[in-house]
């Protein structure tokens, strides 16, 4: 066997090993600045690969303006936008700071973030707390109601969750997700089972550490009313699993997939922190009444980290209802989609199995070579935002990662390995 083939084989085997060996545990909620020391005045982390203000889509600009006001860096939204245009803020990807964020993905100093620790490798990853449905900052919402809710998360929910988590050994996430897969979740569009299991795990600790009954009531009903509460935790889990897979020389495994509403970017283990980007695609899906594809924002968010670890669109067979709702076709297509995703991954995860597929494990470790060879792009389940800031979610559907990202990454890997 040639040297290059040997290098690739061993590097990918190591990458797969690290992915499957992960032990993600939800251990805490802290202020973002405590988790990420670099987060200071004027620094705004966003979803997706690097992007400048000029190229940001409507919802992301709306979110930037809103978070700037929230942090006290501007008096109102217009002032915030002006400051942004002048270059007053530093925009960096969440991914560069062991963080992820859904949709607009705003992460700034004072926001509470969940902390997931990979206890097999020691690293931690962070994500803000899911605000709920409707008019929220992750869809570009930025009015008083949004900021008020963010303040409540910062001052009440975040700290309470943190206290509750610290009072225990934390919540082991792999087995929770495994259960969720048997209950109809795929952890991107469908998180209701995992959100319920999480609340069950937290309830006693919350009750015993939160002295104020009114606050406890509000916390419990906030979490209970948000079917997508677990999404952000699943995302932080994904980041905690993939971060140790970075930088394995010669590995062709994908360590990140992410979008900023304008560009879709991937990172590959053997290519370090380099982003390979292409324009995001438009989701294909079903719309809530009153909305249509004309209202849709281009694809956005770090939530594709869940597909990167074999969940979401890859685990579609576990959530057949989602297949029909998100416009992928009949529920019976869900199994086909998982089988198709298996074509582009190196392995299956034996700890995350799908009963409907005779307990086949979710397809894991996307290999850029297989994507390019087959022309099968990763399938992503996603929410669809309105392209005007602040309106919120208008639908759900599927979207593909652009093949161009994988092709350019392959050329780069070829160059790195000396075959071109």
């Amino acid at each position: 066997m040639s040297d290059v083939r040997q290098v690739l084989r061993e590097a990918n085997a190591e990458a797969v090993h690290r992915m499957l060996a992960a032990e993600p545990v939800l251990i805490d909620v802290v202020a973002a600045a405590d988790a990420i020391p670099e987060l200071g005045e004027g620094m705004i982390l966003h979803a997706g690969p690097p992007i400048s203000w000029e190229r940001m889509c409507g919802p992301m600009r709306g979110a930037v303006a809103g978070i700037a006001v929230f942090e006290g860096w501007a008096n109102d939204l217009d002032a915030a936008a002006a400051l942004a245009a002048q270059g007053a803020f530093q925009f960096r990807p969440n991914h560069d700071f062991a963080a992820v964020g859904p949709m607009t993905g705003m992460t700034t100093a004072s926001q509470p973030v969940v902390v997931v620790e990979n206890q097999a490798s020691g690293n931690r990853a962070f994500c803000t707390i899911n605000e709920g449905l409707g008019k929220v900052m992750r869809f570009g919402g930025n009015d008083a109601s949004v900021l008020t809710r963010l303040a409540w998360l910062r001052d009440v929910l975040g700290p309470a969750l943190g206290t509750a988590l610290r009072s225990s050994k934390g919540i082991e996430l792999k087995s929770l997700v495994a259960r969720g897969l048997t209950m109809g979740d795929e952890m991107h569009q469908r998180n209701v089972a995992c959100s319920s299991l999480l609340l069950r795990s937290l309830a006693a600790a919350l009750a015993s550490t939160c002295g104020d009954r009114a606050i406890l009531t509000r916390i419990l009903s906030f979490i209970a009313s948000n079917d997508q509460f677990f999404l952000n935790i699943a995302m932080a889990m994904g980041k905690a699993i993939t971060d140790p897979v970075r930088d394995i020389k010669g590995a062709s495994v994908v360590t990140a997939m992410s979008r900023n509403g304008t560009d879709f970017g991937i990172r590959v283990s053997g290519l370090g922190d380099e982003w390979f980007t292409a324009p995001v695609e438009m989701p294909d899906g079903l719309y809530f009444p009153g909305f249509s594809a004309l209202d849709a924002n281009p694809d956005m968010g770090d939530s594709t980290i869940v597909e990167t670890i074999g969940l979401g669109g890859f685990a579609m067979a576990a959530a057949p209802a989602v297949a029909g709702f998100v416009g992928a076709g009949a529920p019976s297509d869900a199994a086909h989609i998982t089988h198709t995703m298996r074509e582009i991954t190196l392995t299956e995860n034996p700890e995350w199995t799908i009963p409907a597929l005779d307990y086949q494990g979710v397809p894991t470790a996307i290999d850029i070579r297989r994507v390019v060879e087959t022309g099968i792009a990763p399938m992503i389940n996603t929410g669809i935002a309105h392209r005007e800031p602040g309106v919120g979610q208008v639908g759900a559907g599927v979207v593909r990662a652009p093949l161009a990202c994988f092709e350019s990454a392959l050329w780069a890997l070829g160059k790195r390995l000396g075959v071109t």
Binding site: S332, A335, H336, H339, T340, R342, E343, E373, T374, G375, I376
Partner: protein, 507 residues
């Protein structure tokens, strides 16, 4: 999707559409192309994948516009030449409809199909064999994947570069695997016909063939002679060249040597290179099996004592079984039907290359001069002024961009009509090859042409390569031809001999 127009000759319109991300196999595309070409006002139509070689074909056919020229290997090109723009639009609409037709129906629609050899292996974990029939540009890569997955490979595809064949067979030899092909149309394993093969009897005669129709004729004759076939292994037309060195032939010989179910081996090929012939015959000598060897058109050469050299496929089959075809053949044409005056030429129109070659051997052995587009040694290259001609319609020059005549009889129709209407032609000689993969009723297609021909026509002589148990039923096909006024011969070699007999009766 894009549309481009250019003006062809006269008033006709050239119209192209390019679809990305669509792939359908070449047989499906050709079927649709035929449907489109049959539309009123359509002069020519083709649906092809946009590989450089296909684009060259379309260009040569005057079917490409600037849009079509930019197509790539992952694109599907619709190219139409029509009477006018409106007719071209009709063709485009029809193409759309045909392409939207669900390719999977019934239970097939429910079953997931793997997209790669690799995932197919994980579904069928005990697979032992890959049958590759993708376009030639891609066949070697797929064959290589199959070998690395530990599978034997049959490469049906042609137009695989020679150096790829050499590299594949080298890798296969190291792995102890057999590459059958490229351009291998016929394999029979344990009685199972693969690709273009016949339903033959099982027995103790193994076949190794560099050609499809050679294997088809010999295996069918063995069956009709009361013998049976253990396995028939195709090795591809270039295997016995110096470049390839007989790699697959050696491997096949080894397989059959070690097969207790094989007593006797028939080896069929074009003449091998001298060096390769020598090493093959050394292998033969070392074997404890007996051999019938037919190197069609080769000069006589000495063979070991356990082998016999035969001139024709028919002789090889008879030698292998130990019976003559006369003992079992039911049909012999009525030799008293004479061609009319002024007719002196024999025109042979063959679907099977080896059958055309066998006919040439018969002519040579009777010292009759003949020409062919695929000449064996001693036969001249076909030119316009050639007298007797034996044409291989399956040759690359005829099949580029067109279906093989065994699949689509209309390809031969044009030539047949021309020959039937030619006052200088005394005899038209045809092979009719049936079996799996062949057209469902080639005899009727020929009968239809004969119906429309003038009664003052050449004598038509044919043989049917196949068996009674084939889907088309050899006996039924022979009846249809006989009823249509065709003189039937029991074998392809006999048909050639009968043609010469007919001709000699004119004088």
């Amino acid at each position: 999707m894009g549309v481009g127009k250019a003006t062809g000759c006269d008033m006709s319109v050239v119209f192209n559409q390019v679809r990305t991300g669509v792939f359908l196999d070449s047989v499906v595309l050709m079927r649709i192309s035929r449907e489109l070409a049959d539309l009123e006002g359509i002069e020519e139509a083709a649906l092809m994948i946009g590989t450089p070689s296909n684009l060259a074909i379309l260009e040569r056919a005057g079917l490409l516009s600037e849009l079509g020229r930019q197509a790539g290997g992952g694109d599907l090109v619709l190219a139409v030449r029509a009477r006018d723009a409106a007719t071209a639009e009709v063709a485009a609409t029809e193409a759309e409809r045909a392409l939207e037709r669900p390719s999977r129906t019934g239970s097939q629609a429910e079953t997931w199909q793997p997209r790669t050899l690799r995932s197919a292996c994980s579904v069928m974990t005990d697979a032992n064999f890959a049958l590759v029939s993708v376009p030639g540009d891609f066949a070697a890569a797929e064959a290589r994947k199959a070998l690395r997955l530990g599978l034997h490979v049959m490469i049906f595809s042609d137009n695989v570069p020679l150096e790829e064949e050499v590299a594949l067979k080298r890798e296969a030899a190291e792995a102890g695997l057999l590459v059958m092909g490229p351009d291998c149309g016929t394999v029979i394993i344990g009685g199972v016909p693969l690709a273009f093969a016949n339903q033959v009897s099982r027995g103790d005669i193994g076949l190794i063939g560099a050609s499809g129709t050679g294997i088809q004729e010999v295996s069918s004759l063995i069956t009709r002679l009361g013998g049976g076939v253990s396995h028939a292994l195709g090795v591809g037309g270039r295997d016995l060249s110096d470049a390839v060195g007989g790699s697959s032939t050696f491997a096949a010989l080894k397989l059959l040597n070690n097969d207790p179910g094989t007593r006797h081996v028939v080896l069929i090929s074009k003449p091998p290179s001298t060096a390769v012939a020598k090493s093959i015959l050394t292998e033969v000598a070392a074997s404890d099996k007996t051999f019938s060897i037919c190197f069609i058109g080769a000069a006589p050469l000495s063979v070991p004592s356990n082998a016999t050299l035969l001139r024709t496929l028919k002789a090889a089959a008879e030698h292998a079984v130990g019976t003559s075809i006369n003992a079992v053949a039911k049909e012999w044409g009525d030799g008293s039907v004479l061609p009319g005056a002024g007719r002196s030429r024999i025109v042979g129109l063959f679907c099977g290359g080896t059958l055309a070659a066998e006919a040439q051997v018969v002519f040579i052995d009777e010292a009759v001069s003949v020409a062919s587009n695929a000449p064996i040694p001693g036969v001249s290259q076909l030119v316009a002024a050639s007298h007797h001609v034996l044409v291989d319609l399956g040759d690359d020059s005829y099949t580029r961009g067109r279906p093989h005549p065994m699949i689509d009889p209309t390809v031969r129709e044009g030539e047949l009509v021309r020959a039937l209407g030619d006052p200088t032609v005394a005899v038209v000689l045809l092979d009719v090859v049936i079996g799996h993969g062949a057209h469902v009723n080639p005899a009727s297609a020929i009968a239809r042409v004969l119906c429309k021909a003038s009664p003052d026509r050449p004598v038509v002589i044919a043989s049917v390569t196949g068996t009674k148990r084939d889907p088309q039923d050899r006996d039924a096909q022979a009846s249809i031809l006989r009823d249509a006024g065709v003189l039937m011969a029991p074998t392809n070699a006999d048909a050639a001999r009968l043609a010469l007999t007919c001709l000699s009766l004119i004088d």
